[in-house]
Every structure is written in C-alpha cells, then in structure tokens.
Amino acid sequence: MATTTDTADTVVAEDGVRRRDFIEIAAVATAGVGGIFTLIPLISQMSMSKDVLADSTTELDISALEPGQSIKAIFRKQPVFVRNLTQAEIDAANAVDVDDLRDAESLADRTLEGHENILVVMGVCTHLGCVPLGAAQGEIKGEFGGYFCPCHGSHYDTAARIRKGPAPTNLEVPEYTFTSDTTIVIG
C-alpha cells in the first residue's frame, strides 16, 4: 500500500517529467483551461447588455430653442444640457483669459464650428456627479451666469467652465454632431 501512492509525488530528476506524469498534468491543465474559458461568459454577462448599448445615442430637435433658453435631455441615462447662448453670454465667455482658468478651454473649443451659440454639456458636475442647476427657467445660474451645483457649490460660467468651487474640470462636452441645422445627435 505504501508504494501505491508515492509515485505521484516522486520527481524523476534525470529524465524530467515522465509520460505518465505528463498525462496527469495535461488532464489537470485541460480542466484549468476549461475553467478559464467558463469565466468568459460569467464575467462578460455583467457588462452592458445589447439594449443598453443600443440606447447609447440621443437625437434632439433644437429648432424651438431660442437664444437664452436651455433644454434638458437624457443621454445614456444622464442629463445633458443644451443651451442656445445669447450674444451677451458668448461675449462674457470670450472675455475670460483662458490661461487663468482651472481647466483651460475656450468657448470655441467647447462648441462646434458654425454653431458656436449651441453649447452641449453633460449635466453632471465633475466634482461628485450631482446635477447642476441653471438649465431650467428660474434656476440659480451661479456667480458666473452658467450653471451652479448646489451639492458642494461649484460655479460654472456661460461656457460651462469651472470657475469657483471644488469641481476639478469643466462640465464635460459629449461627442455630438449636427445632422441638420436644427438636429443634433449625441453619442
């Protein structure tokens, strides 16, 4: 009996791994490979499902958006603000020296050519993700006339750039395109 089990532990140094050991190792390794491949579906089932992926663009009609007005829309389950800037707001944004800003971007960097008056930003404060005020009529726009996040007091200017408060960066501009003069597609 003693001799029956020892072979598995015996390492034959001279000729390395013997054939019988090789088969056992190969069998265990194959089981391991199978186990690893089984992990693929178990892990990837948690990533975005097809319906979520399909819902990843938002089309907006902005024909009714007058200068000075904003609309809130939903893009990927998060708010997005579209504002038609007045000339005064554009001038205010352009009057700032970009190099003095925490997150140096000009209004032109943040809008599309030919549509400099249309500012599209995510309504998600870059500090901790609250929804800033200022998009709906009558809401506080903050000290710089743009957006104001009530959670921790971040003030954004008319180009939605961070000017005061804890937020590290400007409100994010999502990828979007104009498919016509009055239609934008976000995402």
Binding site: M1, T4, T5, A8, E24, A27, A31, I40, P41, L42, S44, Q45, M46, S47, S49, K50, D51, V52
Partner: protein, 429 residues
C-alpha cells in the same frame, strides 16, 4: 473519525504550516476529499454521483446568481426579463439554458445517487444518518426546483404554482387558509412570485449547508461499497486523492458531454413549450404537468380517484408526500443483515421491479389524465407502496443471502491472506 491508517496532513511549505496552525482549512479539505480520506478500493462508477450532485449544486448556484442579476421578480415584467436575458444580456441565453438544464441534470444525478443507495442498501446502519440527511436534501431540492420553475412566469409556471399550492388546499379545515397564506393571494400573483424568488435564492444555500452535514456524517463510518462488506484493513482502501479524484474527474467529463449536448443542441427538450406563453390566469393549458423529475410523484398524486372515508384529493396528497417520506424509514424497514443487492437474489429482483415501476409512474405522470394511464398508474402506485412497506420488510426476513466475500480486498484481488485464517471464503464478485 477515520481509519487509523489514514494519511496525516503534513505541510512542508512554511506558509501552509502557518495556515494549518491558525486555520486548518487545508487539513479539513485533505481529510474530507484528499489523500487523508481512505475510501474502499472497489467503488464502481455508481459512486460517482455524489460528487456530481455536488458539482450540480455549485453549477446551479453560480448560474443562478448570474441570472438573478438580470431577472426581475415582478409579475408584470418577469416573463419579459427572462426574454431580456435570452436576447440582450451577454451570454444570457447560455446562462439560462445552463441553469434550466442544470436543474434537470441535477435530478438525473440525484436519482441515480438514490437508486444506488436502494440497490446497495446504503441506508443501513451505520449510515442511517447519511441517508436521512440525504432525503432532507432531496426534499429541499424538490422545493427549490418547483419555485424556480415558477419564476419565468409562463403558463406552466403559473399553473404549476396554482396546482402545487392547491395540494395544501386539500388539507381538511385549514387547507384553504394555508394555501392563501402560501400564495399571499387568492391565486398566484406578484406576492407569490416575489416570495418564491426570495426562497429560490435562499434554499440552495440551505441545501449547501445540509450537504456539508451529509458529507460530515459520511466521514464517520466512511463510504459504503458494492460488496457491502465493511472495511477491515488498510488493503481494503485507497486514499481519495488521487484515486477517486481521478475517477470523479473522468465521471465529471462524461457527465459534461451529456449536459452540454442538451444545453447547446436541445435546450428546450426537457422543458415545456407552454412556458414560452406568458402566464394567463384565464386560460389553462391543455396538459398541466410539472417538470419531468416530478412525474412519478405526480402520477401517484393523480392515481387516487376514489373517495374512501377521506376525499380522493386528500388521499392523493397524502400518498404523494408519503411516497417520499417512506424513504426516511428504509433503514428500519429493511432488516436484512446483508447490505449489497449483489448478494441478495430476491431483493435484487424486486429492486428491478421497482425501477420498472418507477419508469411506468414516470410515463403516466407525464401523460394526459385519462384512461388507461390512470389505471396503469394505480397499479404502479399500489406496487410502489407495497414494495417499500410490505415487500421489503418481508423479504429481508425470508431471504437467504448468497455468501459474502471475506473482505473488499478479496472481492477485488481474488484473495486476501487474512481470509485464509477466517471462516468465510465466499465467491468474489
């Protein structure tokens, strides 16, 4: 708790030594399913199904937890959420088919495990406790499977829930109150669906706990074996690892081939088409049957069609529960001193009659409730009860067993030097 010649866990790696001092978990595994567990050397492939059942439990828990991440237990959306899993969730179809067919294969494995126990009388002393715990596991698994089948909220889910909870409604006086309490409504609806989901998630972990008790109890006397002769010396056993890990590994690989064939090539073969129709309380399917693994018991339920003192419906419910509960008493109903069916000629014949009987019950349970199936299932039901409660006690008294081998070693190797000194030198298997 084990044989004196069991190998001892002796870690050489300092880290493992440290762990062994502080938390001897590797030692526990080593003694439970490692080289430290001496197992009779003559186990046949029928002894693979315990490990396979454990594998199925893990499989069901893993795929089940995944499905629960995407499933919504609400009667308005449950059906659609299952289709969402099938269509939109990455690999969702694989997870669902693996779980649905996993349940069926779990039962195949459990049944073979139980029938092994019948044939080799694994329920006999000193292993009664293992058997009793095993029957508890079986009951828990049936309850879990039933509630899982309700969750997709298709036609069969709904009507299955209605019929099975209706069994409790057959209890005199309090039955209706119990049924309403179980469902949380007059009929299965959102309340029932939610509680079934909750319990369907909970019970597998309860089963896992009871399985640990099952294995613990097993390690007191050690595994039974096809001769039914107890282990006498070290030459009768082999360490679980590597011998039975290798054998179980092969068994698992073969099992997975059959399982994968169903999951990938005929995933709905064991299900019922009606469950792809959303639950409709206003329309009953033409044929209400449970999942196939309940067919034999369903046949027993339907076999009682005659009011005798008690209403027929109540007889059916009593008989169905009794048909499983009777297994609890097997260790005391069968008093034969010989365990293995190999050496019990009469017992062996009746065992095969029972297998045929259960196959007939299985067939009748899945058929329409009409003649001649009802009459056939009545005869089969009669035999079922006679077998366990009448025939088994009687044959264990009158049967003359064939001679047993002296030891497992003799049965395997043809001779055992100790047998020369002993009195019994019977035929080897």
């Amino acid at each position: 708790m084990s044989f004196p010649w069991a190998k001892q866990y002796e870690p050489t790696n300092p880290l493992m030594k440290y762990l062994d001092e502080k938390l001897p978990l590797p030692r526990l595994v080593y003694n439970a399913v490692g080289a430290g567990y001496p197992v009779p050397r003559n186990l046949s492939y029928m002894w693979n199904f315990g490990v396979l059942a454990g594998f199925c439990l893990v499989l069901q828990i893993v795929t089940g937890v995944v499905l629960a991440m995407h499933y919504a237990a609400n009667d308005a959306v449950a059906f659609d959420s299952v289709e969402h899993i099938m269509r939109d969730v990455n690999w969702g179809w694989l997870m669902r088919y693996a779980h649905a067919n996993g349940a069926s294969f779990f039962f195949i494995v459990i049944y073979l495990h139980i029938f092994r126990g019948f044939y080799y009388s694994s329920y006999k002393a000193p292993r009664e406790m293992i058997w009793l715990i095993g029957v508890v596991i079986f009951l828990l698994t049936m309850a879990t499977a039933f509630m899982g089948y309700v969750l997709p909220w298709g036609q069969m889910s709904f009507w299955g829930a209605k019929v099975i909870t209706g069994l409790f409604g057959a209890i005199p006086l309090v039955g209706e109150s119990i049924q309403v309490w179980l469902l949380g409504g007059y009929a299965p609806d959102n309340a029932a669906l939610n509680r079934f989901f909750s319990l369907h998630f909970l019970l597998p972990f309860v089963i896992a706990g009871v399985v640990i008790l099952h294995i613990w109890a097993l390690h007191i006397p050690g595994s039974s074996n096809p001769t039914g002769v107890e282990v006498k010396s070290e030459s009768d056993t082999l360490p679980f690892h590597p011998y039975y890990t290798a054998k179980d590994g092969l068994g698992l690989a073969v099992f997975l081939i059959f399982y994968a064939a169903f999951v990938f090539f005929m995933p709905n073969a064991l299900g019922h088409p009606d469950n792809y129709i959303p639950a409709n309380p206003l329309s009953t399917p033409a044929l209400i049957v449970p999942e196939w693994y309940f067919y034999p018991f369903y046949a027993i339920l339907r076999a009682f069609t005659f009011d005798f003192i008690l209403p027929a419906q109540l007889w059916g419910v009593l008989a169905m529960f009794a048909s499983i509960l009777v297994w609890f008493f097997l260790p005391w109903l069968d008093k034969s001193p010989v365990r293995s069916g190999r050496y019990r000629p009469l017992f062996r014949k009746f065992f095969w009659v029972l297998m045929v009987d259960m196959a007939v019950l299985f067939y009748c349970g899945g058929a329409h409730a009409e003649e001649p199936y009802i009459m056939i299932s009545q005869i089969a039901t009669a035999y079922y009860f006679l077998h366990f409660l009448v025939i088994l006690p009687i044959i264990s008294s009158i049967e003359k067993p064939e001679p047993l081998p002296f030891s497992i070693t003799e049965a395997v190797l043809g001779s055992d030097e100790k047998a020369a000194q002993g009195d019994s030198a019977g035929t080897a298997a």
